[in-house]
Symmetry: D3
Subunit: 138 residues, 6 copies
Amino acid sequence: MRLHRALPRLFGHVTADAHCDLPCGVYDPAQARIEADSVLKICQKYADNDDSEFRSRAILIKEQRSELVKHHLWVLWTDYFKPPHFEKFPELHQLFNEATKAAGASGTKGSMDAGKAQSLLDQIDKIAEIFWETKKAA
Amino acid sequence: MRLHRALPRLFGHVTADAHCDLPCGVYDPAQARIEADSVLKICQKYADNDDSEFRSRAILIKEQRSELVKHHLWVLWTDYFKPPHFEKFPELHQLFNEATKAAGASGTKGSMDAGKAQSLLDQIDKIAEIFWETKKAA
Amino acid sequence: MRLHRALPRLFGHVTADAHCDLPCGVYDPAQARIEADSVLKICQKYADNDDSEFRSRAILIKEQRSELVKHHLWVLWTDYFKPPHFEKFPELHQLFNEATKAAGASGTKGSMDAGKAQSLLDQIDKIAEIFWETKKAA
Amino acid sequence: MRLHRALPRLFGHVTADAHCDLPCGVYDPAQARIEADSVLKICQKYADNDDSEFRSRAILIKEQRSELVKHHLWVLWTDYFKPPHFEKFPELHQLFNEATKAAGASGTKGSMDAGKAQSLLDQIDKIAEIFWETKKAA
Amino acid sequence: MRLHRALPRLFGHVTADAHCDLPCGVYDPAQARIEADSVLKICQKYADNDDSEFRSRAILIKEQRSELVKHHLWVLWTDYFKPPHFEKFPELHQLFNEATKAAGASGTKGSMDAGKAQSLLDQIDKIAEIFWETKKAA
Amino acid sequence: MRLHRALPRLFGHVTADAHCDLPCGVYDPAQARIEADSVLKICQKYADNDDSEFRSRAILIKEQRSELVKHHLWVLWTDYFKPPHFEKFPELHQLFNEATKAAGASGTKGSMDAGKAQSLLDQIDKIAEIFWETKKAA
């Protein structure tokens, strides 16, 4: 089993601001995945609870978590991946563009559909697979 | 004269957090350019002033402004540009990837060289040119 | 046509934190105007869409954009305008005070009325007019 | 002794983002004063410690605390004070403008001089005096 | 009368980010109390106003203010209180753990009940009492 | 091998703001550990590089990463751990208090010593061990 798949519900309970661009050299697609997992859980809890106060809070928090997914993916795309990676995996640009869109207004930000959250998770898994291949090759 | 060149020193004196992903539909490459311009000015003032307190502040503020350039470009890449744009301008992915890298550790974050800030500005101008073509076509 | 009027939908998709107080010397009332424009668009989309999830998101995002209007105006008032400007334009203090109030609880934060957003835009335009006069004179 | 003078070193160890513009109706000039007091303490510790790492941290933290002073004063000026207050205390606009400038590049942000921090504190005290008079009158 | 009790509705209208860990040596439980007071006022205004837009804003702002209570208490617990304090007041750990929980999902974040806000205020008062005893002893 | 030990350099390249207090129910001590690992890497790079600009950036970024360690630990202590956990592991309060102090002014914030960063990592590992025991028991 690939390790990043085994990660037991890591969380990313923070609001993105800036990534460590020293750089410290530490990257992992798990962070984006964790936020997307949090988004999925929020969608599921929302579906099971029709209290209007709870639902307002869920919408607010899902917005923040989705933004974090976008941020973590952007950081990977710009800061971790280098030209040789893009040559070897030419689909990477589109994968990242679609995954970040999937966490935006047309995706998990704009919808409470757990299916959209699951689809976002699947896209992150595709990116993670490539990420770990490049780490293995390094 | 191209409009985005004519912008008289717009500023972007804010720290990025989240973009309006309602979406409100308002986008402009000027914001990234303004931050890059601020980075350039900081590099120039740094070169002209060897006071250590001033220099510490300049490094700190340049870090924030460079992060803003990255954020504004990421927002354009994910939220404004759609599949038909990427088909028509296949170089867009690489342009954005290089421009955001140019605002990171290997670019304006990691250096006080005004040349790197100017190069970042030039890359943003290329993106802006395509942006305005797509707006005209819309 | 005055340039700042010609700005084609600049955007300000960021959350304010701190302005570049090095200072880098780059200021423009367009940023406040863009946020106010975003607020106006949100009000219009809100009026056209009675989906409760969409409306919750609109309220949340409008709150952030209104806060940005306030921040950008405060920065101009404190950091750009100097004593000679206030002598020449004694109405400036009140203009800024009213415009920032117009983006607060009694204005666009506390209301979904597009008229309030338009009024805020008009107040920013008055400030911008003075701003550009002072720049011309400099 | 006036109460706000007696405040025993309240602290304001937070980074400003947004003020509660519901509004909840709770205002106090102490917050700005506390941040200015923190700035003063930082300047004093900086003068007593010539370790370069310590000094870099002091500059960084003083920048944030000064920004907080500005933010708290802006909130008071826009959100608490109303037209009747400005009529009764016509010097208020200038007091606020000068105090926020005193926390900026020409004041405590741009200098490690404890005298500038003390001067900022004095300006905040003048504002506080008026604030408490308006509260008493309410 | 104890001074911290006399504080006339100090406010803490900011979003927490980082505490001044230079450290500048300035601490006060009033900040947490002020935020909790703001939470209480929001709950009361919510109860008196059934406008759905107002209520959405109240939920959003209460979430932020509750987060601030947690942050300010965490800072006191980690940064102000030292081993000798915990020896002398062995109940401190639990007091802080319960107070921060009282500002979270099971407390003021998850509820619009003014009683929960009042209970949070009472817990902060207990902490403040110990805080001032340790200051007096210092 | 325990999974959380195996985590291959997860990263936490974000600035803490608020944790998902819906709650979504997703927690993991890995986040704090990742930030501490980033702090360690920064200390090592600092020791190997005496360029003053690089060092200023390292100090600035280490400050942010250390703050994130504190935030992630506070969230675990308040939001994940419940009374039965504290009964079963009475050392937990002190462990958390010491670990958060180890990321503050007396620890990794106030020092560039890689030993302090390693010690912080060790303290987080002790907490993680208890965390996973409670998860297993759940």
